[in-house]
């Protein structure tokens, strides 16, 4: 279960098909290749408002991986600035309609609501965690960045990011496993059994 240091890292490509998404297990470490889409609070509000109004979304949501990030501006010669994940729970209210339209993956940090965990099971999708606060490291795995919609939102604009070997851990899978709940619990149990054994 644990994403141990020596464990094999699974390569996944986008668009992320439902079959692959269903195979991923909480604790598994992955590297992502292909296009993912940067969207956080303001872009989510607009995406979902558009869907509710019956408008065509600015990106194809089928097999899409959304990355909760608002990058810093790129320095000269760079494609993007610091680009680590933001707290995912703020996007919880928007998840269900997006999964219903074909989104199969989300990247962020921190735990999700029970409703989101249930929606992952229902739609066969995954929630991936990247390391919060590792924005310079993660930016190094982004090869291209382009604003797709809502440039007026600045760091919150919807962007297409071309990634190569973008590192993440499966935090919640399509079978209802949640690493943010299981990991600390397992750590406490292991620590306790070490202390008893001493």
């Amino acid at each position: 279960m644990s994403a141990c240091g020596g464990a094999r890292i699974r390569r996944i490509e986008t668009p992320l098909g439902g079959e692959v998404a269903r195979e991923l297990r909480a604790g598994e470490r992955v590297e992502i290749f292909g296009d993912i889409y940067a969207a956080r609070d303001a872009a989510h509000a607009r995406l979902v408002a558009g869907l509710e109004a019956g408008e065509k979304p600015p990106i194809d949501l089928r097999g899409c991986i959304l990355y909760y990030v608002g990058p810093t501006p790129p320095r000269p010669g760079r494609v993007i600035g610091s680009a680590g994940p933001t707290t995912a729970s703020r996007m919880d209210p928007y998840v269900v309609p997006l999964l219903a339209r074909g989104v199969t993956g989300m990247i962020g940090k921190g735990p999700r609501s029970p409703e989101v965990l249930e929606a992952l099971v229902c739609h066969g999708a995954v929630y991936l965690a990247a390391t919060g606060g590792a924005g310079a490291l993660l930016a190094d795995r982004i090869r291209a960045a382009e604003v797709i919609a809502w440039p007026e939102l600045g760091p919150e604009a919807l962007r297409r990011l071309r990634v190569e070997g973008f590192p993440a851990v499966v935090a919640a899978d399509s079978r209802g496993s949640d690493l943010y709940a299981l990991g600390p619990k397992r750590y406490r149990q292991e620590r306790q059994s070490r202390e008893v054994g001493r």
Binding site: R75, K109, G110, T131, G132, V169, K185
Partner: protein
């Protein structure tokens, strides 16, 4: 009176904003290295390795440590014999924030109105705290404060009868609820006493305390150790998937309070603990 041109404050704020967002303090990096050396969870080890690599990359200048380059929180101690000339303090600070954030390729993370939510574009205005103190110096602390940890911070008006254990329980509960969202391993600022509004300021000021300095009050130093132990017993760990080090340090700052009150505030700080300071 000693005249100080506010342009010097603008320059200092601009420099601190940029520097603090690219370069972690050496002593603080040593905290992270120690946490890695003592960590027994492979998941948390992996996260700590990434954070140390991230710090090396950011210092090389490729990108800031974190994309959340923070609300610009600026603390001043201004000597009473200082006369600020050639402008006003608030405008001088905002000019420094504007210069530091735009020139340093840092993110504008401020919206001008909490409901209308339009980005101001240059990370102004700053949140400014000023203490008047004896003397003729101006001391500045720059604390870019990320929202991940700020959003999980809390305050409460405990009963005096809740006492020491009530304080520990409140901090532990705050950290447990924050979990991975606050980006552990954390630095925890705790404000004790004062009033409803004052305790959170104490908690934030506690984050400014230099590393490796002990609380001068022995009973508070003991409280810091006990809170740190209780928080690390949670087993949340770096990154939040389980591990030994949920918090790197706890700092308590206390102030007198009303006979009926025990205000407590917990200001969580993420592992990207960025503080810059300078004296003019």
């Amino acid at each position: 009176m000693r005249p100080v041109d506010v342009a010097r404050i603008t320059g200092a704020v601009a420099r601190l904003a940029e520097e603090s967002n690219y370069r972690l303090d050496r002593g603080y990096v040593a905290y992270l290295e120690d946490a890695l050396a003592s960590e027994d969870s492979p998941d948390a080890q992996h996260v700590l390795e990434e954070l140390l690599e991230n710090a090396r990359l950011a210092e090389g200048g490729s990108a800031p440590l974190c994309q959340d380059t923070g609300v610009a929180v600026v603390f001043f101690e201004i000597g009473q014999r200082v006369q600020l000339v050639d402008g006003d303090l608030a405008s001088a600070v905002d000019a420094g924030v504007r210069r530091g954030y735009c020139g340093g390729y840092l993110r504008g993370s401020m919206v001008g109105d909490p409901l209308l939510r339009e980005n101001t574009g240059d990370n102004t205005p700053a949140i400014v705290h000023v203490d008047l103190v004896p003397g003729d110096r101006v001391k500045i602390w720059f604390l870019p404060k990320g929202a991940g940890s700020e959003n999980m911070s809390r305050s409460a008006m405990l009963r005096p009868a809740d006492g020491r254990q009530g304080i520990i329980d409140f901090v532990v509960e705050t950290v447990a609820d924050a979990g991975a969202s606050a980006c552990p391993p954390l630095i925890i600022g705790v404000g004790l006493g004062g009033t409803f509004d004052f305790a959170p300021q104490l908690a934030k000021k506690a984050l400014l305390r230099p590393l490796d300095t002990d609380n001068p009050a022995e009973h508070l130093a003991a409280l810091e150790r006990d809170i740190l132990r209780a928080v690390n017993d949670l087993g949340i760990g770096a990154g939040g998937f389980g591990g030994r080090t949920t918090a790197l340090d706890v700092r308590v700052q206390a102030h007198p309070c009303h006979i009926a009150s025990l205000p407590v505030a917990v200001n969580l700080q993420c592992h990207a603990h960025r503080v810059g300071t300078v004296e003019i």
